[in-house]
């Protein structure tokens, strides 16, 4: 079942299946390693729940929630 990456809970893992948004956002996410089929995991969420720390490939990234809402994952 697909859902937004921002809906995942801490330590939940998902596989990227679709990225929404305009070409600029897609491109930027691609540069940061958001390739279709890649596994991502939420490591932690900020107290105000507006930014997320996620693990992708061999590194960690901190991203805003509104960006992650464009990434759809399969659990």
């Amino acid at each position: 079942m697909s859902q937004k990456l921002s809906n995942l809970k801490i330590n939940q893992q998902g596989k990227i299946i679709f990225i929404n948004g305009d070409i600029h956002l897609k491109r930027r996410l691609l540069e940061l390693g958001f390739v279709l089929g890649e596994n991502v995991k939420i490591l932690s969420i900020s107290p105000l729940k507006n930014s997320y720390l996620i693990a992708i490939k061999s590194y960690t990234l901190a991203l805003r929630k509104d960006i992650l809402e464009n990434v759809f994952v399969e659990i």
Binding site: I23, R28, L30, E31, G33, V35, L36, K57, S58, Y59
Partner: protein, 234 residues
């Protein structure tokens, strides 16, 4: 300047460290991204040859999102003949290779330096250099930028090998051919390969530069083909 070498790479990959050790410079370095925010050039003499080395700010790609990334892009575009050393962080190989691929796609012919050899060794990571060279068609070095010898040997290689590579990927040709077949009414403008590819990515800088007025129409044509294009980019 004939012998101009530019250091390009992702933020915090070790470009300034390489620069300092190769040129005896004393640029500020730090273990976080965004320390270098402007291009810095230094003249050095190597075996009696005068060469200029330019340290550029880190960039994730050539479609800039910040001032520093724009500096890097502008520098590369305004110094067409410079040789490029692409420094990448061995710990984040996959992500760093995105910029490398972009450089090759756009015809810049970089020499690849995988930095942080010491850390890779410590973590027992081995990189198949030969295979990487074969796949990318560029020369690959495994270096530790803190080691002056490593830096010098890379510089020596770059200076004495003029046509390092003219590699290109088949899919780039496919995309360019596809662009030509689109009939966007741009054929008389004689776009360069760089501009064509960036145009397809709807890079604002390229669109601005050409003052394309009937962009709406073109956008419609592109939109219908966009999904296909995105797959190719991946």
């Amino acid at each position: 300047m004939d012998n101009l070498i530019a250091l390009v790479g992702n933020p915090n990959a070790g470009k300034s460290t390489f620069f300092n050790n190769a040129c005896m410079a004393e640029e500020h370095v730090g273990n976080w991204h965004g320390v270098t925010i402007d291009s810095k050039e230094k003249l050095i003499k190597l075996d009696g040859k005068q060469i200029a080395v330019a340290d550029l700010p880190g960039a994730y790609s050539l479609s800039p999102y910040s001032y520093e990334e724009a500096v890097t892009r502008d520098y590369l575009l305004s110094h067409k003949n410079c040789k490029i050393i692409n420094i990448i962080d061995g710990n984040n190989l996959e992500r760093n290779l995105f910029l490398t691929l972009e450089l090759i796609e756009l015809g810049f012919n970089p020499v690849l330096c995988i930095n942080m050899a010491n850390e890779l060794k410590k973590n027992h990571v081995q990189i198949d250099i030969k295979n990487l060279e074969k796949m990318l068609g560029v020369k690959v070095f495994l270096i530790n930028a803190q080691n002056k010898k490593d830096c010098k040997s890379v510089l020596n290689f770059v200076i004495y090998n003029n046509d390092i590579c003219k590699s290109n990927f088949d899919y780039v040709k496919d995309i360019l051919n596809w662009f030509d077949s689109l009939n966007l009414g741009l054929n008389d403008r004689k776009l360069t390969e760089y501009q064509k590819i960036k145009f397809l990515e709807q890079d604002e800088y390229v669109l601005d530069e050409f003052k394309i007025d009937n962009y709406e129409n073109i956008a419609k044509v592109l939109e219908s083909e966009q999904t296909a294009n995105f797959v190719i980019t991946q």
